[in-house]
Amino acid sequence: MLSPDDLTALWVTLKLAAVSTVLLIVLATPLAWWLSQTRARGRVLVEAVVTLPLVLPPTVLGFYLLLLLGPKGPVGAVLEDIGIGHLAFSFSGLVVGSMIYSLPFVVQPLQNAFAATGTRLLEVAATLRASPLDRFLTVALPLARRGYFTAAVLAFAHTLGEFGVIIMLGGNIPGETRVASIAIYNHVEALDYGSAHALALTLVVFSLVLLTLVYALNRRGQSVGVPR
């Protein structure tokens, strides 16, 4: 039912979602932590900026990212100069785009989770000789499990369905930047509803199974040792 192109697109989609989710979680952690701990006045501005990727339509965001990351863009040109190459129309570019696009969904749950943990247990850890990094890793992180779970699920799912940023920034190159969402869109536009339904259904069923599994695992994990 699914064409080889569609399968390739699915594969690219999964790869993109996985890579950008992992990277985003790692990179957003210090930001979310800082936001949850600081009393600095500038915090609110940073929080607002983090939310901004949401307010632009994805295609428009993609357009500006293209300007920014493309060969003529300020970031792209610098990358070009240092030999990495600009990011337009490449998988790495998509990863960057997806990360920016999903940033708010990751930072917010993490920040909330860190804030909800409070200071008491971190103080306790400090009195037990844990350094700041140590107590972050061994106390704050495990207690923020729920937040990490939510962040990962939202970022992953959001990247699966991403379209606007990707088509603009990625250029829909088969095998490299053509993801499932673009393939479905094209099927719909080409009035090939059969293929569209098939691919959409595959994506939905796959996601449903994956999400159900993940939620079930998470639930089992929660039954012990999570703060009430």
Binding site: G73, G171, E176, L191
Partner: protein
């Protein structure tokens, strides 16, 4: 009011037309741009439009077949002209030899399956026996519409691309460098208009279509915008 669903690439031209038509007729055009495929789906689901100005002839015909549009009201209101274009002044010469040389990183086209300009671009590249090579080298980037393709080229992310002449033509000519492929390399980009069934009884809609089809001033505006009318 006449509710016009229009292929996105024709929006600007339609606005120029409206500036002439509205004062003359006393009717107002309510313009809803969109991708032709999306407009088709919407009309099939009873979208409140009177007239469809599509980017191809296929979708109007299908609507007629399904009884969603009035048979006999369809006509070609414009023919698009694809152009290989780059904002860089000397990238493209008369023979478009840059295509063969491959001295570029990305060539942008619209998605051939859904955008007529994309299909034309593909035909041209196939006629030049370049399609497979470019595809294999992953040098082809596809926008979901020709407008996206234009953005990608204009912004410099892609070095050159097949866009609509209407997009690059200005009163002062065409900036940068360009090549207009000979018409025999691609199927004509006929854009069809049709009256939708829900507006069967709306004389204003019929009036607008007739004006668009026959008025000389309208034809002039369309041609000036970069389309042909034959």
């Amino acid at each position: 009011d006449i509710r016009v669903a229009v292929a996105a690439n024709f929006t600007a031209t339609l606005e120029a037309l409206a500036a002439v038509y509205e004062p003359a007729s006393g009717n107002r055009l309510v313009v809803s741009p969109g991708a032709t495929g999306a407009l088709y789906s919407q009309i099939a689901n009873a979208a409140p439009f009177d007239v469809l100005l599509a980017a191809d002839e296929l979708r109007p015909r299908k609507l007629i077949d399904q009884g969603m549009a009035v048979a006999g009201t369809e006509f070609v209101y414009a023919r698009g002209i694809p152009v290989l274009w780059s904002p860089q002044p000397d990238l493209i010469d008369e023979e478009a030899s840059v295509l063969r040389s491959g001295r570029f990183r990305y060539l942008a086209i619209a998605e051939p399956r859904t955008a007529p300009y994309g299909a034309a671009a593909r035909s041209v590249l196939e006629a030049l026996a370049l399609w497979d090579t470019l595809e294999r080298r992953q040098q082809l980037v596809r926008g979901s519409s020709v407008a996206q393709t234009h953005s990608q080229v204009a912004g410099g992310a892609a070095d050159l691309g097949f866009v609509a002449l209407a997009q690059v033509q200005t009163a002062e000519g065409i900036p940068g460098s360009y090549w207009i492929p000979p018409p025999e390399l691609y199927a004509p980009l006929t854009q069809g208009a049709v009256l939708l069934s829900s507006a069967r009884a709306r004389s204003a809609a019929r009036h607008f279509l007739r004006w668009l089809q026959t008025d000389a001033e309208a034809a002039a505006i369309i041609e000036a915008a970069g389309y042909r009318r034959d």
